[in-house]
């Protein structure tokens, strides 16, 4: 693990140490091939928390999370037709440059400030979240993990810029893919000898974990076919079309063909990749049907409750949970028995009994979480993120643990490097070079870019360290992202798909939308995911209403 991580840093810094100008630093001199762009796009999106959480999501909730990605291929096609030609023909460095060309400077500044605010804090979270999980499971110092992983990313990102980010993304995606397949194949070796792959899939299916598609239309259900196709398309359009951490990936391509191919390959590969990761989670679930899992997967909170005032109550729940596991295994073997499998009534009967056991298990887990919360009011009772790492650390062979931890760190570093790089690009191109110092030479801007990368890196580390002191900040950051994303998407949608709306109407609409989103946050109980929709819709509708009323400057 240390060897691979060290190699990534050395490789990224060494291969790109001769970066000579700003164009090379921010866009690789537009030299990337489509396959580099595709890998870089995937590596940017695949953060460590995704790699850790997704199998846990399948363990807890089944595979229906895959529907979240159904809009992604559609978004890739739309962006390839619309955004990519626009960005390429205008030869921009950042997405926000386009807003000045289409509208005016104030819209560009608004877009870039909204991005810097949101992505700056998100970069801290990208470092903090995996560091927290790794430190809890492996007993590492949280602050030290944050500082080391953050500093390693800063080194090669600051030295080589986008070129280093893209080159290391290739290696990082390779190790993530190898780690993913290794953990997938290991599950079959770890299952009991008499449980075949088909048996495992049969069990997962019968226990409701292979629910990949749900066509029901229910607004309260977060993951359905409809929410994935409709909501997912909007979300992916926003993320890949307006977020500089992704836009920078395909702006680095040699030409429009390479940019498009990079996005479209992502559109082809992403859903099968998520499906495999979720299927791994479903198989980990089957594995834990034959090996008793911990009642609560976060070992630190479990230890606290076992050493606290409620240790007896918690032990009683653990004992009952253990007894249920024995009953469940017996029923599972009955279900796998040939006669039961072939007889519908017998199979349904066993399934009903298993569902009763699962219901009781859930009740015990809820009680355990209640005790954990009473014991430590600041405890996070969601242990989804700890499921997969518990499986890795406790059941895989030593060499493979190292490989998978390297994959997790690679995923963390790949996202963070892209974020720092895009923050530096926007700081230079949209703020410093545009408004503060327009006439410096290229070397001056190159040095500024490197310093901006280091500065944003330090900011992200500082926020990650602060987050470790104030746990509730994590949720605040997620909410903060939703506070801005809808407004940014609204501005870009108006820019891409309308021709006559003026910069003034869009700017005022965006300010009003942002104010209303913030009002919704403070004074209503609307769930925060809806802020994205509210912000976007208000910008678009209000722009159309205000446009005839407001004085127009000529749009460029």
């Amino acid at each position: 693990m240390c060897g691979f991580t060290g190699f990534i840093v050395f490789y990224g810094a060494w291969k790109t140490r001769n970066t000579k100008n700003v164009d090379e630093y921010l866009r690789t001199g537009k030299s990337s091939s489509w396959w580099v762009v595709a890998l870089s796009i995937m590596a940017t999106q695949a953060s460590a928390i995704t790699f850790l959480s997704t199998p846990g999501q399948a363990y807890v909730d089944g595979m229906r999370f895959v529907q979240f990605y159904l809009g992604l291929p559609i978004a890739m096609i739309i962006l390839s037709i619309t955004a990519v030609p626009i960005y390429s023909k205008l030869n921009v460095y950042t997405a926000y440059e386009y807003l000045e060309i289409r509208f005016d400077l104030k819209n560009r500044v608004l877009g870039s400030i909204l991005f810097l605010t949101q992505r700056g804090l998100a970069a801290g979270l990208t470092i903090y979240a995996p560091a927290l999980i790794l430190s809890v499971i492996l007993g590492w110092s949280l602050n030290l993990t944050i500082i080391i992983t953050g500093s390693l990313v800063i080194i090669y990102t600051a030295i080589g810029g986008t070129n280093a980010v893209n080159k290391t993304h290739i290696l990082q995606m390779a190790i993530i893919t190898i780690g993913m397949f290794a953990s997938f194949f290991m599950i079959y070796f770890l299952l009991p000898k008499d449980i075949s792959v088909i048996d495992a899939a049969f069990i997962a299916g019968k226990l409701g974990k292979l629910n990949a598609i749900d066509f029901s239309f229910n607004l309260n259900d977060r993951y359905t076919f409809w929410s994935g196709i409709i909501g997912g398309t909007f979300l992916m359009l926003s993320y890949f079309g307006t977020d500089q951490s992704q836009v920078a990936r395909y702006l680095a391509a040699k030409n429009i063909t390479q940019s498009r191919m990079g996005l479209l390959v992502n559109g082809i590969v992403k859903i099968p990749m998520q499906f495999i990761i979720l299927f791994i989670g479903a198989m980990v679930f089957v594995f834990f049907q034959f090996v008793t899992p911990p009642l609560f997967f976060n070992p630190v909170e479990t230890e606290k409750v076992k050493n606290g005032l409620y240790s007896n109550e918690y032990s009683r729940l653990e004992n009952e949970f253990e007894l249920l596991q024995d009953q469940k295994r017996k029923k599972l073997r009955e279900m796998l028995d040939g006669s039961a499998r072939n007889s519908l009534s017998s199979s349904e009967d066993i399934k009903n009994q298993l569902n009763k056991i699962a219901k009781r298990e859930q009740e015990i887990k809820t009680s355990a979480k209640g005790i954990i919360k009473i014991n430590n009011s600041e405890a996070d009772t969601n242990d989804t993120n700890y499921v997969f790492i518990t499986y890795i650390v406790n059941y895989l062979p030593i060499g493979l643990i190292g490989l998978l931890l390297a994959a997790i760190l690679a995923a963390s570093m790949s996202s963070t490097s892209a974020e720092l790089n895009s923050l530096a690009s926007t700081s230079l191109v949209d703020i410093y070079k545009r408004m503060i110092n327009k006439n410096a030479d290229d070397m001056h801007y190159l040095i500024f870019s490197k310093l901006a990368t280091i500065g944003w890196g330090i900011y992200a580390i500082a926020f990650a360290l602060l987050a470790s002191e104030l746990g509730s900040l994590i949720e605040a950051v997620n909410i903060l992202g939703s506070l801005f994303y809808g407004t940014i998407l609204g501005i870009f949608l108006v820019a891409f798909y309308t021709k006559k709306l003026s910069g003034n109407s869009v700017f005022i609409s965006a300010i009003v939308a942002e104010a209303l989103v913030i009002y919704s946050f403070f004074f209503t109980s609307i769930p925060f995911l809806w802020y994205n929709v509210i912000g976007c819709v208000i910008v678009i509708v209000l722009s159309f209403i205000l446009n005839p009323i407001l004085p127009k400057k000529e749009n460029r």
Partner: protein
């Protein structure tokens, strides 16, 4: 924006001959995946 805008040529895609066919491929794969996921859910659940 870079003052010295380079010529960006909208080349043909590396395979299939036209972008529309590539878009159809991506969309077609999505449809096939949805059908497969549906069968996967139905058969195994």
């Amino acid at each position: 924006m870079d003052e010295n805008s380079q010529n960006i040529t909208d080349d043909k895609p590396p395979f299939l001959g036209s972008w529309n066919k590539i878009y159809l491929l991506v969309f077609g794969e999505l449809v096939v995946l949805i059908v497969l996921f549906y069968l996967f859910t139905k058969v195994l659940s």
